[in-house]
């Protein structure tokens, strides 16, 4: 087949579709709607995943957790390309007491100003207020506060162990995250008032959207030698990773199922569309068009129609995503008790290459599959039989 021949069949298919007006529009509408809806749903699924990650890492841990980092290492050295911020933390195990109430805890030294700017743990304050730099204050989890029987403004004592020197702190505030490991034995205090010095520190590293934590970690490994180490949120929260994978899989299944159902509709419409034009194909055959050429014409019609319908569907889908992305979709009512939405239940649908490309590709695939049957009817029927039936 020459290019000239292909051009001729493409032109014929275009003319057929264009002059079939209403039938083409009806058929295209199904594809337009399916593509637009699925692009939006896929973007919403990505947005939900983003929100879960954002909530989970934004609360406290960051996308990457660094540990055993030497004091000689400056936070600025970890701010490589793709890293938004690096928060320094120093954890010290010890005992916190209030009179006879004693609890084993980890006290974490933080930079309150940096934490306020980057993390959301301060937003989980249930009473009192967050820390201030240089104040000898602690920010306690609600479970710890309950067990010690303290309120904001009360005094607690910290010691590195039993019969060790005790340091006095004032409770600045109490928080509740809903996340077990944060709500149990952790207390925060400013770096400056940490009772002991430590050779190493930990880091919460926040990265830009679109960057993979693994690639950042790989770069860190070339910069910093052991025993310093890094864990991505995927290693720290395998349950979240699984949930996200599950979300993508279910979205994929939904997409395929939706198109499976839509393709049935498309198949029926195609049968009507192609059989409506059966006489035309019969005349072409009588003029010497081969069954392969008729089949090719039908395939080109399907492809052209899909290209046009999918383009419109993609535009509508993208527009829907753009509009909802502007203000976000507030799902707080459905997520308020969910640990993956501890900070905010607002979801921002986001387009990815996958969510943008899969629906049109599936539309084309299913349309081609659904055109096989009517195309087979046309190509197999003899021109004489077709012409006699009109």
């Amino acid at each position: 087949m020459t290019f000239k021949h292909l051009k001729f069949w493409i032109r014929t298919a275009f003319v057929f579709l264009f002059r079939s007006g209403r039938s083409t529009v009806t058929l295209s509408l199904m594809v337009v709607m399916a593509v637009a809806v699925l692009i939006f749903l896929s973007a919403l699924a990505v947005g939900i995943n983003d929100a879960m990650i954002r909530n989970s890492v934004g609360l406290y841990s960051g996308h990457i957790s660094g540990f055993s980092l030497p004091q000689s290492l400056d936070t600025q050295r970890l701010k490589i390309h793709g890293v938004v911020s690096v928060l320094k933390r120093i954890s010290i195990p010890g005992i916190l007491s209030n009179g006879n109430n004693i609890e084993t805890i980890t006290i974490v030294g933080v930079d309150p100003a940096a934490e306020l700017k980057t993390t959301a743990i301060w937003k989980k304050t249930v009473s009192g207020k967050f820390l201030k730099n240089a104040d000898r204050t602690v920010f306690l989890s609600h479970q710890l506060a309950d067990k010690l029987g303290v309120q904001p403004g009360n005094t607690v004592r910290f010691a590195l162990g039993l019969n060790k020197n005790q340091i006095q702190f004032i409770v600045s505030g109490i928080y509740k995250t809903g996340i077990d490991y944060l709500d149990r034995g952790i207390a925060f205090c400013p770096f400056e008032v940490l009772p002991v010095k430590k050779d190493t520190w930990e880091a919460a590293i926040f990265i830009q959207e679109g960057f993979e934590p693994e690639s950042i970690i790989a770069e860190y490994r070339t910069l910093i030698s052991e025993p310093a180490g890094f864990h991505s949120w995927k290693e720290m929260m395998p349950d979240l990773l699984q949930l996200i994978d599950l979300n993508y899989i279910s979205m994929g299944v939904v997409t395929v199922l939706v198109f499976g159902v839509v393709s049935l509709g498309i198949a029926c419409a195609f049968v009507i569309f192609i059989l409506k034009n059966l006489r035309e194909y019969g005349i072409m055959k009588a003029m010497g068009a081969t069954p392969q050429e008729i089949g090719r014409l039908i395939v080109i019609e399907v492809i052209l129609m899909n290209l046009a319908a999918s383009s419109i569907g993609v535009l509508i889908g993208v527009l829907l995503v753009f509009i909802t992305n502007y203000s976000g979709i507030d799902l707080t009512y459905f997520t308020s008790h969910n640990r993956y939405f501890v900070v905010s239940g607002v979801v921002f649908p986001r387009l990815t290459f996958f969510s943008l490309c899969l629906p049109p590709i599936l539309a084309l695939f299913f349309s081609l599959v659904s055109a096989i049957w009517p195309a087979a009817i046309v190509t197999r029927r003899k021109a004489a039989d077709i012409l006699r039936s009109f």
Partner: protein, 224 residues
């Protein structure tokens, strides 16, 4: 030369087995015009379809210009059809989504003519059939006579060796039918076509070089 040797064709229909053609044999010399006539159901259309490669006979041989078309593969038969045969149907059978211009250009494009030649040829043909202004019109905008004239132009556009016409005047009034017959004969002869016309029209029978009377799928009397 067209040689038909003992062809038979039968159909299975709701009314049972129908013998459309039985042992039909004849020869038509090149450039001759033959009128096939007979009552409805006598097998005229089936014979034309067999000659044009739209039907394959169950038995017998058809040799058109040295090619045994009954034994060609489907694809080869299509290619033979598009190069060597032009069809004029009873109701024109123009492609309804294509304009008059595009209908005529279609058979030329199928035969790989280049764009310039197609444009020149279509305009010439439209002039000849007296429809120079109707190029952009769609078939439903034409009268029955105009449709048939476009059909003739389309059938003859690629200069086929054989022009087959199936009752081309049946749906036209007498005057329009007469004009069409004249046009078809003139154009067919001008292009050196061998014409086989299935008809009831006495005028066509009179104008033909020979005639082939069919009755119940058999030739009543051989001529030519």
């Amino acid at each position: 030369m067209i040689r038909v040797q003992g062809i038979s064709k039968e159909y299975r229909s709701g009314r049972g087995q129908i013998q459309a053609l039985t042992d039909v044999s004849f020869t038509i010399e090149k450039n001759n015009t033959v009128a096939v006539f007979g009552k409805s159901g006598s097998g005229k259309t089936t014979l034309l379809y067999c000659l044009g490669g739209l039907e394959r006979p169950e038995r017998g041989k058809i040799t058109c210009f040295g090619v045994e078309i009954h034994s060609l593969s489907e694809k080869a038969l299509c290619l033979f059809q598009r190069r060597n045969i032009g069809f004029v149907f009873q109701h024109g059978n123009l492609l309804s989504y294509l304009t008059v211009y595009e209908n005529i250009a279609f058979s030329l494009a199928l035969n790989n003519f280049d764009g310039k030649t197609i444009a020149k040829r279509v305009h010439e043909l439209l002039e000849k059939v007296g429809l120079a202004e109707t190029g952009p019109a769609l078939p439903h905008e034409l009268s029955g006579g105009e449709v048939q004239r476009v059909s003739v132009a389309r059938a003859i556009a690629h200069s086929p060796q054989m022009l087959l016409a199936d009752e081309p005047t049946a749906s036209l009034d007498t005057d329009t039918g007469r004009d069409l017959v004249q046009l078809m004969f003139n154009m067919g002869r001008e292009h050196g076509c061998t014409m086989i016309i299935a008809t009831h029209d006495q005028e066509i029978i009179n104008l033909a070089d020979a005639f082939l009377p069919l009755r119940d799928g058999k030739i009543e009397k051989e001529d030519g």
